[in-house]
Symmetry: C2
Subunit: 122 residues, 2 copies
DNA sequence: CTCTCAGTTGAATAACCGTTCAACTGTATT
DNA sequence: AATACAGTTGAACGGTTATTCAACTGAGAG
Protein backbone atom coordinates (compact mmCIF):
# COMPACT_ATOMS: atom_id res chain seq x y z
CA UNK A 1 0.00 0.00 0.00
CA UNK A 2 2.02 2.93 -1.25
CA UNK A 3 -0.97 5.20 -1.68
CA UNK A 4 0.29 8.42 -0.21
CA UNK A 5 -1.45 11.69 -1.05
CA UNK A 6 -4.35 9.74 -2.50
CA UNK A 7 -6.78 12.44 -1.59
CA UNK A 8 -4.75 15.38 -2.77
CA UNK A 9 -4.38 17.20 -6.07
CA UNK A 10 -0.83 18.25 -7.03
CA UNK A 11 -0.61 21.91 -6.07
CA UNK A 12 -3.41 21.74 -3.51
CA UNK A 13 -2.63 22.18 0.21
CA UNK A 14 -5.60 20.29 1.62
CA UNK A 15 -7.49 17.03 1.41
CA UNK A 16 -10.75 16.59 -0.44
CA UNK A 17 -13.78 16.72 1.83
CA UNK A 18 -16.49 15.69 -0.62
CA UNK A 19 -14.79 13.29 -2.98
CA UNK A 20 -17.93 12.46 -4.93
CA UNK A 21 -18.79 16.10 -5.60
CA UNK A 22 -15.27 16.89 -6.78
CA UNK A 23 -15.28 13.87 -9.09
CA UNK A 24 -18.65 14.67 -10.66
CA UNK A 25 -17.99 18.39 -11.07
CA UNK A 26 -14.58 17.57 -12.50
CA UNK A 27 -16.17 15.41 -15.19
CA UNK A 28 -18.51 18.15 -16.36
CA UNK A 29 -15.94 20.96 -16.31
CA UNK A 30 -14.91 22.37 -19.71
CA UNK A 31 -11.26 21.96 -20.68
CA UNK A 32 -8.80 24.33 -19.06
CA UNK A 33 -8.00 25.74 -22.49
CA UNK A 34 -11.66 26.68 -23.03
CA UNK A 35 -11.77 28.31 -19.60
CA UNK A 36 -8.60 30.21 -20.39
CA UNK A 37 -9.98 31.48 -23.69
CA UNK A 38 -13.24 32.41 -22.02
CA UNK A 39 -11.41 34.53 -19.45
CA UNK A 40 -9.33 36.13 -22.22
CA UNK A 41 -12.54 37.01 -24.00
CA UNK A 42 -14.17 38.65 -20.98
CA UNK A 43 -10.94 40.49 -20.26
CA UNK A 44 -11.68 42.52 -23.40
CA UNK A 45 -14.80 43.94 -21.76
CA UNK A 46 -12.93 44.57 -18.51
CA UNK A 47 -11.60 47.96 -19.54
CA UNK A 48 -13.78 51.08 -19.53
CA UNK A 49 -12.14 52.54 -22.63
CA UNK A 50 -12.91 49.41 -24.66
CA UNK A 51 -16.45 49.19 -23.30
CA UNK A 52 -17.07 52.81 -24.21
CA UNK A 53 -15.71 52.25 -27.71
CA UNK A 54 -18.03 49.27 -28.12
CA UNK A 55 -21.00 51.25 -26.86
CA UNK A 56 -20.18 54.07 -29.29
CA UNK A 57 -19.84 51.72 -32.27
CA UNK A 58 -23.11 50.18 -31.19
CA UNK A 59 -24.79 53.35 -32.46
CA UNK A 60 -22.72 54.14 -35.51
CA UNK A 61 -19.64 53.36 -37.54
CA UNK A 62 -16.87 55.75 -36.50
CA UNK A 63 -13.34 56.83 -37.40
CA UNK A 64 -10.45 56.96 -34.93
CA UNK A 65 -10.47 60.77 -34.64
CA UNK A 66 -14.16 60.88 -33.80
CA UNK A 67 -13.85 58.18 -31.17
CA UNK A 68 -10.86 59.98 -29.65
CA UNK A 69 -12.80 63.24 -29.53
CA UNK A 70 -15.91 61.55 -28.14
CA UNK A 71 -14.01 59.87 -25.32
CA UNK A 72 -11.58 62.74 -24.73
CA UNK A 73 -8.50 60.60 -25.40
CA UNK A 74 -5.59 60.56 -27.83
CA UNK A 75 -5.72 58.86 -31.21
CA UNK A 76 -2.85 56.64 -30.09
CA UNK A 77 -4.66 55.31 -27.05
CA UNK A 78 -7.79 54.64 -29.09
CA UNK A 79 -5.82 52.98 -31.87
CA UNK A 80 -4.14 50.63 -29.41
CA UNK A 81 -7.50 49.56 -28.01
CA UNK A 82 -9.04 49.19 -31.46
CA UNK A 83 -6.22 46.84 -32.38
CA UNK A 84 -7.09 44.64 -29.41
CA UNK A 85 -10.78 44.71 -30.31
CA UNK A 86 -9.97 43.80 -33.90
CA UNK A 87 -7.67 40.93 -32.92
CA UNK A 88 -10.55 39.58 -30.84
CA UNK A 89 -12.83 39.73 -33.88
CA UNK A 90 -15.17 42.12 -32.10
CA UNK A 91 -14.55 44.98 -34.50
CA UNK A 92 -13.79 45.38 -38.20
CA UNK A 93 -12.57 48.36 -40.22
CA UNK A 94 -12.60 49.81 -43.72
CA UNK A 95 -10.43 52.50 -45.24
CA UNK A 96 -11.77 55.51 -47.18
CA UNK A 97 -8.90 57.75 -48.22
CA UNK A 98 -7.04 58.82 -45.12
CA UNK A 99 -9.88 57.89 -42.80
CA UNK A 100 -10.32 54.43 -41.24
CA UNK A 101 -13.83 53.57 -40.13
CA UNK A 102 -14.46 51.01 -37.40
CA UNK A 103 -17.66 49.08 -36.74
CA UNK A 104 -18.83 46.12 -34.66
CA UNK A 105 -18.29 42.63 -36.07
CA UNK A 106 -20.03 40.26 -33.68
CA UNK A 107 -23.65 39.53 -32.94
CA UNK A 108 -23.07 38.34 -29.36
CA UNK A 109 -21.76 41.67 -28.13
CA UNK A 110 -25.15 43.31 -27.64
CA UNK A 111 -26.46 40.42 -25.56
CA UNK A 112 -23.36 40.30 -23.39
CA UNK A 113 -23.37 44.05 -22.75
CA UNK A 114 -27.09 43.95 -21.97
CA UNK A 115 -26.64 41.14 -19.46
CA UNK A 116 -23.83 43.08 -17.82
CA UNK A 117 -25.95 46.22 -17.60
CA UNK A 118 -28.83 44.17 -16.18
CA UNK A 119 -26.55 43.08 -13.37
CA UNK A 120 -25.04 46.42 -12.37
CA UNK A 121 -28.42 48.18 -12.59
CA UNK A 122 -29.80 45.61 -10.13
CA UNK B 1 -14.36 85.71 -31.41
CA UNK B 2 -12.34 83.79 -28.85
CA UNK B 3 -13.48 80.39 -29.98
CA UNK B 4 -10.25 78.48 -30.08
CA UNK B 5 -10.26 74.70 -29.98
CA UNK B 6 -13.94 74.72 -30.81
CA UNK B 7 -13.69 71.41 -32.55
CA UNK B 8 -11.59 69.65 -29.97
CA UNK B 9 -12.30 67.74 -26.79
CA UNK B 10 -9.96 68.46 -23.82
CA UNK B 11 -7.47 65.60 -23.85
CA UNK B 12 -7.96 64.79 -27.53
CA UNK B 13 -5.12 65.43 -30.01
CA UNK B 14 -7.20 65.80 -33.18
CA UNK B 15 -10.16 67.65 -34.60
CA UNK B 16 -13.57 66.08 -35.09
CA UNK B 17 -14.16 64.88 -38.63
CA UNK B 18 -17.85 64.02 -38.40
CA UNK B 19 -19.27 66.49 -35.96
CA UNK B 20 -22.86 65.33 -36.34
CA UNK B 21 -22.01 61.70 -35.65
CA UNK B 22 -19.99 62.57 -32.56
CA UNK B 23 -22.80 64.74 -31.23
CA UNK B 24 -25.52 62.14 -31.76
CA UNK B 25 -23.50 59.23 -30.39
CA UNK B 26 -22.48 61.38 -27.45
CA UNK B 27 -26.12 61.98 -26.56
CA UNK B 28 -26.99 58.30 -26.46
CA UNK B 29 -23.89 57.16 -24.54
CA UNK B 30 -24.48 55.89 -20.99
CA UNK B 31 -22.85 57.89 -18.18
CA UNK B 32 -19.14 57.36 -17.66
CA UNK B 33 -19.88 55.96 -14.22
CA UNK B 34 -22.12 53.27 -15.70
CA UNK B 35 -19.42 52.40 -18.25
CA UNK B 36 -16.85 52.21 -15.47
CA UNK B 37 -19.03 49.90 -13.37
CA UNK B 38 -19.73 47.76 -16.41
CA UNK B 39 -16.02 47.30 -17.07
CA UNK B 40 -15.44 46.50 -13.40
CA UNK B 41 -18.15 43.87 -13.61
CA UNK B 42 -16.68 42.15 -16.69
CA UNK B 43 -13.23 42.30 -15.11
CA UNK B 44 -14.50 39.67 -12.67
CA UNK B 45 -14.91 37.20 -15.53
CA UNK B 46 -11.55 38.14 -16.99
CA UNK B 47 -9.58 35.73 -14.82
CA UNK B 48 -9.45 32.01 -15.55
CA UNK B 49 -9.41 31.04 -11.88
CA UNK B 50 -12.62 32.96 -11.21
CA UNK B 51 -14.27 31.65 -14.37
CA UNK B 52 -13.39 28.10 -13.38
CA UNK B 53 -14.78 28.64 -9.90
CA UNK B 54 -18.01 29.98 -11.39
CA UNK B 55 -18.27 27.03 -13.77
CA UNK B 56 -17.72 24.61 -10.89
CA UNK B 57 -20.36 26.26 -8.70
CA UNK B 58 -22.65 26.15 -11.69
CA UNK B 59 -22.91 22.39 -11.11
CA UNK B 60 -22.90 22.21 -7.34
CA UNK B 61 -22.43 24.04 -4.09
CA UNK B 62 -18.84 23.53 -2.93
CA UNK B 63 -16.50 24.19 -0.01
CA UNK B 64 -13.14 25.95 -0.32
CA UNK B 65 -11.11 22.76 0.06
CA UNK B 66 -12.99 20.98 -2.70
CA UNK B 67 -12.60 23.89 -5.09
CA UNK B 68 -8.90 24.09 -4.29
CA UNK B 69 -8.50 20.37 -4.96
CA UNK B 70 -10.58 20.53 -8.13
CA UNK B 71 -8.55 23.39 -9.59
CA UNK B 72 -5.20 22.24 -8.20
CA UNK B 73 -4.61 25.44 -6.25
CA UNK B 74 -4.10 26.49 -2.63
CA UNK B 75 -6.96 27.29 -0.27
CA UNK B 76 -5.54 30.78 0.12
CA UNK B 77 -5.64 31.56 -3.59
CA UNK B 78 -9.20 30.25 -3.85
CA UNK B 79 -10.31 32.13 -0.76
CA UNK B 80 -8.96 35.40 -2.15
CA UNK B 81 -10.90 34.93 -5.39
CA UNK B 82 -14.07 33.87 -3.57
CA UNK B 83 -13.90 37.08 -1.59
CA UNK B 84 -13.87 39.08 -4.84
CA UNK B 85 -16.76 37.05 -6.22
CA UNK B 86 -18.73 37.58 -3.03
CA UNK B 87 -18.09 41.33 -2.96
CA UNK B 88 -19.44 41.43 -6.51
CA UNK B 89 -22.59 39.66 -5.36
CA UNK B 90 -21.94 36.78 -7.74
CA UNK B 91 -21.49 34.22 -4.99
CA UNK B 92 -22.90 33.60 -1.51
CA UNK B 93 -21.79 31.30 1.30
CA UNK B 94 -23.10 29.44 4.32
CA UNK B 95 -21.23 27.91 7.23
CA UNK B 96 -21.73 24.37 8.51
CA UNK B 97 -19.36 23.68 11.37
CA UNK B 98 -15.83 24.21 10.14
CA UNK B 99 -16.82 24.03 6.49
CA UNK B 100 -17.91 27.04 4.42
CA UNK B 101 -20.01 26.25 1.36
CA UNK B 102 -20.12 28.60 -1.61
CA UNK B 103 -22.78 28.80 -4.31
CA UNK B 104 -23.84 31.12 -7.11
CA UNK B 105 -26.01 34.12 -6.24
CA UNK B 106 -26.96 35.70 -9.56
CA UNK B 107 -29.30 34.70 -12.35
CA UNK B 108 -27.47 36.60 -15.08
CA UNK B 109 -24.25 34.59 -14.76
CA UNK B 110 -25.41 31.63 -16.82
CA UNK B 111 -26.49 33.79 -19.73
CA UNK B 112 -23.28 35.80 -19.72
CA UNK B 113 -21.08 32.71 -19.60
CA UNK B 114 -23.12 31.09 -22.37
CA UNK B 115 -22.78 34.13 -24.61
CA UNK B 116 -19.05 34.13 -24.00
CA UNK B 117 -18.78 30.46 -24.86
CA UNK B 118 -20.85 31.02 -27.99
CA UNK B 119 -18.30 33.56 -29.14
CA UNK B 120 -15.08 31.62 -28.50
CA UNK B 121 -16.56 28.42 -29.95
CA UNK B 122 -17.31 30.33 -33.18
C1' DC C 1 -7.86 22.72 27.62
C1' DT C 2 -5.50 21.35 23.67
C1' DC C 3 -5.07 19.88 19.13
C1' DT C 4 -6.52 19.67 14.45
C1' DC C 5 -8.20 21.41 10.42
C1' DA C 6 -11.16 24.71 7.29
C1' DG C 7 -10.84 29.07 6.08
C1' DT C 8 -9.38 34.04 6.22
C1' DT C 9 -6.30 37.89 5.97
C1' DG C 10 -2.47 41.22 5.00
C1' DA C 11 1.97 42.06 3.11
C1' DA C 12 5.10 41.18 -0.50
C1' DT C 13 6.49 39.69 -4.96
C1' DA C 14 6.07 39.24 -9.88
C1' DA C 15 3.57 39.50 -13.93
C1' DC C 16 0.41 41.97 -16.60
C1' DC C 17 -1.63 45.98 -18.86
C1' DG C 18 -3.22 50.83 -20.36
C1' DT C 19 -1.52 55.18 -21.51
C1' DT C 20 1.99 58.24 -23.09
C1' DC C 21 5.52 59.64 -26.14
C1' DA C 22 7.99 59.87 -30.31
C1' DA C 23 8.72 58.19 -34.66
C1' DC C 24 6.72 56.33 -38.47
C1' DT C 25 3.33 54.97 -42.77
C1' DG C 26 0.18 56.21 -46.17
C1' DT C 27 -3.03 59.09 -48.57
C1' DA C 28 -4.70 63.41 -50.26
C1' DT C 29 -3.82 68.29 -51.41
C1' DT C 30 -1.30 72.19 -53.33
C1' DA D 1 7.84 67.33 -54.61
C1' DA D 2 6.44 69.09 -50.37
C1' DT D 3 3.10 69.59 -46.87
C1' DA D 4 -0.73 68.17 -43.92
C1' DC D 5 -3.24 65.01 -41.58
C1' DA D 6 -5.38 60.20 -40.16
C1' DG D 7 -3.72 56.48 -38.23
C1' DT D 8 -0.26 52.97 -36.60
C1' DT D 9 3.48 51.18 -33.90
C1' DG D 10 7.07 50.02 -30.33
C1' DA D 11 9.31 51.19 -26.10
C1' DA D 12 8.84 52.85 -21.59
C1' DC D 13 6.48 54.20 -17.43
C1' DG D 14 3.19 53.60 -13.69
C1' DG D 15 -0.60 51.38 -11.75
C1' DT D 16 -3.16 47.19 -11.17
C1' DT D 17 -3.58 42.48 -9.72
C1' DA D 18 -3.09 37.27 -8.92
C1' DT D 19 -0.50 34.25 -6.28
C1' DT D 20 2.48 33.07 -2.44
C1' DC D 21 3.70 33.01 2.27
C1' DA D 22 3.03 33.26 7.08
C1' DA D 23 0.21 34.33 10.70
C1' DC D 24 -4.19 34.22 12.33
C1' DT D 25 -9.47 32.94 13.58
C1' DG D 26 -12.92 29.77 14.70
C1' DA D 27 -15.26 25.47 15.25
C1' DG D 28 -15.21 20.51 16.35
C1' DA D 29 -12.86 16.36 18.48
C1' DG D 30 -10.35 13.93 22.02
Amino acid sequence: MEKINDNLTPACDCSVIHEDVVREVGKSMPDDEVMFNLAEFFKIFGDSTRVRIICALFRSEMCVCDIAALLGMTKSAISHQLRILKQSKLVKNRRDGKVVYYSLDDEHIAKIIDQGLAHILE
